[in-house]
């Protein structure tokens, strides 16, 4: 009894090994069968845009009768876990995987996904129509390894009605100092309205995304070109202090546990005056089904300090693993799902406000889309277009990407650092202490990852 039950003390590792075994056993299952039927297995993230793609898959089948598409839909974190295991163990379960800008350069370097340049050179696909910043974020050594499904940057969303009431005016390019002033002015705990809503929950994709844009615009950096960590520099400290003070003094209640979803709900219920987050949130805030503040929201660019722009850049992209047994069929699907025609199809069949944003330039020229997304289409496009993925901050960096360090170890490092900052937001330690520990983690990672000796 004792022995049998305690074995469950390692559910994760056991599951991982079990999964690896299982995956190996299924190798090749995604490839075509002997009867000529070609099957494309797509691992995808559970979000509304991906639901739409499944709803429209019959159109793909109609134009590609020989190919059957099977979807494996998983929440973001699980998708990352499963796909990483699948590809790292070379088990070849999937023909198309949904990956983010963080993974693409790393996986391309590992030789896990194939370059799409050759396939994409087909004039019908019009690869040059892809928004340039998104394309370079999805490239490794100037070759595109992921076809963007949708892209996002970050925006400052604010309640125009509350600003007007208080006699405040949002500048065209707000600074963090100004934002802090507005937050102080508009914070009204008794009235149930927080000055600002910012992510505070640990996780490299949660708290660190907005925080890193603050660090970058204050002139801070994670690593310099020689992989020396700089998380204890005065610039980083100033940035983190700005963020932590803002969210702990004028932020939403329960901030250390609030992530994107919680903040979006807070803002949509009218419980916050400002919200600095993903451009994707704009679509939700303008949707009467989920928001009580439709029409009251103004959109300003990501607040800055010492740089001109400060937005992040993220895109979900479709990539083809090198283990896919039928890359041609996989490309058929990828090119369909990321084509101009697909965007039109979504607009016509499901509604123009549901067109995936931030992937293709031409989408923003469609009159119907301009009308449906009037409030936020322009700010979203500008935010994405203004990002410099090669050097988003004031210093050169040895990787491509904005709100993350594009090395495999960052998932772990970022999680640890975000835990420390989150503890500072909760008031359990000072910002200096959090950054001192973070600096030690970052130095250790640079050494153990072999980036410097």
């Amino acid at each position: 009894m004792l022995i049998r039950t305690t074995r469950r003390g390692l559910p994760v590792v056991a599951a991982a090994t079990g999964l690896a075994l299982l995956a190996t056993a299924c190798a090749g299952a995604g490839g075509g069968g002997s009867d000529g039927e070609r099957v494309v297995t797509v691992a995808t993230v559970a979000n509304p845009q991906m639901d739409d793609i499944q709803a429209l898959a019959d159109e793909f089948n109609a134009s590609n009768p020989g190919i059957t598409v099977e979807f494996v839909v998983l929440p973001e974190n699980q998708l990352r876990d499963r796909v990483t295991q699948d590809i790292a163990t070379q088990s070849g379960q999937y023909d198309v995987v949904t990956v983010g800008t963080y993974e693409v350069p790393i996986w391309a370097e590992n030789g896990w996904i194939i370059s799409l340049d050759e396939y994409g050179s087909d004039p019908d696909y019009d690869i040059d129509d892809i928004i340039p910043t998104v394309r370079s974020a999805l490239s490794y050594e100037d070759q595109m390894y992921g076809a963007p499904f949708y892209g996002e940057s970050s925006l400052l969303m604010y309640r125009e009605d509350l600003f007007e009431e208080a006699g405040l005016e949002m500048p065209e390019a707000p600074t963090w100092e100004e934002v802090a002033g507005f937050a102080e002015e508009l914070d009204d705990p008794d009235g149930g309205v927080s000055g600002i809503c910012l992510r505070g929950v640990p996780g490299w994709g949660e708290l660190l995304a907005p925080l890193n844009t603050v660090i970058l615009t204050h002139g801070g950096q994670w690593y310099d070109e020689d992989w020396n960590a700089h998380l204890d520099s005065p610039e980083v400290e100033e940035a983190v202090r700005t963020y932590v003070d803002l969210v702990s003094e004028y932020g939403q209640p329960g901030a250390p546990n609030a992530g994107f979803t919680e903040c979006l709900t807070t803002m949509a219920q009218g419980d916050a005056a400002m919200f600095y987050d993903s451009t994707v949130a704009a679509g939700n805030l303008e949707d009467p089904d989920s928001s009580s503040v439709v029409g009251d929201i103004g959109y300003a660019p990501a607040p800055v300090s010492r740089t001109e722009h400060a937005g992040w850049l993220w895109a979900w992209a479709l990539s083809i693993p090198t283990t896919s047994t039928d890359p041609e069929a996989a490309w058929e699907f990828v090119s369909w799902a990321t084509s101009r025609e697909y965007h039109r199809l979504v607009g016509e069949r499901l509604g123009w406000e549901r067109v995936p944003p931030g992937a293709r330039v031409s989408t923003y020229d469609i009159p119907e889309y301009q009308e449906a997304a009037e409030a936020f289409a322009g700010p979203t496009y500008d935010a994405i277009d203004n990002v410099d993925v090669e050097q988003p901050g004031m210093h050169p960096q040895p990787w491509t990407g904005v709100q993350y360090v594009a090395i495999p170890e960052f998932q772990d490092l970022g999680t640890r650092v975000s835990q420390e900052i989150s503890a500072a937001i909760a008031g359990q330690q000072s910002v200096e202490e959090a950054l001192r520990k973070s600096q030690a983690y970052a130095e250790e990672t640079a050494l153990s990852g072999g980036y410097r000796d």
């Binding site: 004792l2 022995i3 049998r4 039950t5 305690t6 074995r7 469950r8 003390g9 390692l10 559910p11 994760v12 590792v13 056991a14 599951a15 991982a16 090994t17 079990g18 075994l21 974190n77 876990d81 990483t84 295991q85 790292a88 163990t89 790393i106 590992n110 030789g111 149930g192 929950v201 640990p202 996780g203 209640p253 329960g254 901030a255 250390p256 546990n257 419980d271 495999p408 170890e409 998932q411 772990d412 999680t415 640890r416 835990q419 420390e420 989150s422 503890a423 937001i425 909760a426 008031g427 359990q428 330690q429 959090a434």
Partner: protein, 308 residues
């Protein structure tokens, strides 16, 4: 303790002859598929885990995968975050087990009496155990602990108490969820123990003039000894593995204050993709759980023996 000694009748089988070796195996045959299945599903992954714990294996670095000796163990044991996770696991487990056992015993004593609607009350009391852990955790996070909309703050507000529970008292918050969830389990075991008491002994005690508290202390409690041991052991084994509540409510935070061992291993395996270190941590946890469980069982057992 006549109540718990096995009656003689149970030993009187249909045949007194010892079965031969062959007969024993024939009796066991129907069990073999199940046994093999259990071995395949539990022991093979464990052997793999042990194997990986000696490998330098990081999924994100395709060039890794060499034999690493015991360096994974060294790194895990030297990691202050691992030691922090051990300490948190101990606090969580001891807190939740002791609290839920005490509450479970109290409720079981109440339920052991006959009263109107006992069946309904019993069912309602068992319900928390039937709620899926993830759903329960989410429910607690949003509807109980939420600093603005939470029921807990609402209920305590007349007394001037209001807190951001999950951030100010992360471990206590988790202990409360676990206690809520495991009290019914403890209660059922205690109830089984109470109901297996011999009514004659209790009646004799009352006739002899023992007060209710004396009856409980001198007769019922010693009788419950084995049940308490079982409840402690099972509760500890299950609660050591708590993952859902931490993943859903605190994500191990703020900082590392509520990271326990399963969550630590999860982070190692699925954030760092460091299979070697995660496996080593897993092996250490199994070994430590075995040692602690056996040791704790002996101690508890001897304590009770002295008592009775």
């Amino acid at each position: 303790m006549t109540a718990q000694t096995t009656p003689d009748t149970a030993r009187r089988g249909p045949t007194t002859r010892e079965p031969t070796r062959g007969e024993r195996w024939i009796r066991r045959t129907p069990l073999l598929p199940g046994l093999l299945f259990v071995i395949a599903m539990t022991q093979i992954p464990f052997l793999f885990t042990v194997y990986y714990s000696f490998q330098d294996s990081n999924l994100l670095r395709p060039d890794s995968g060499s034999f690493a000796g015991i360096s994974n163990y060294g790194r895990v044991l030297g990691d202050p975050l691992f030691r922090n996770a051990v300490a948190n696991t101990v606090v969580l487990t001891v807190g939740a087990v002791v609290l839920s056992l005490a509450l479970g015993l109290a409720l079981a004593v109440l339920l052991d009496r006959a009263f109107l609607g006992r069946g309904i009350v019993r069912t309602l009391l068992i319900t928390p155990f039937l709620v899926m852990p993830v759903a329960a955790a989410l429910l607690w996070k949003t509807s109980m602990y939420h600093p603005v909309y939470g029921l807990l703050n609402w209920a305590l507000s007349p007394f001037g108490v209001g807190a951001d529970w999950v951030n100010d008292f992360p471990l206590l918050s988790i202990v409360m969820v676990l206690t809520w969830q495991w009290t019914p389990f403890m209660m059922l075991i205690m109830l089984a123990g109470l109901q297996s008491q011999s009514p004659e002994v209790l009646e004799a005690a009352r006739v002899d003039g023992a007060r209710p508290f004396a009856v409980f202390r001198r007769i019922t409690f010693p009788h419950l000894r084995r049940f308490v041991e079982l409840a402690l052991l099972l509760g500890t084994i299950y609660i050591v593995q708590t993952f859902d509540a931490i993943y859903m409510i605190t994500q191990g935070g703020p900082g590392q204050t509520s990271t326990n061992l399963p969550y630590f291993i999860y982070l190692q395996a699925f954030r760092a993709f460091d299979v070697g270190e995660a496996a080593a941590a897993g092996v250490i946890v199994v070994a430590a759980t075995l040692v602690v469980a056996m040791f704790a069982l002996r101690v508890v057992s001897s304590l009770f023996e002295e008592e009775s």
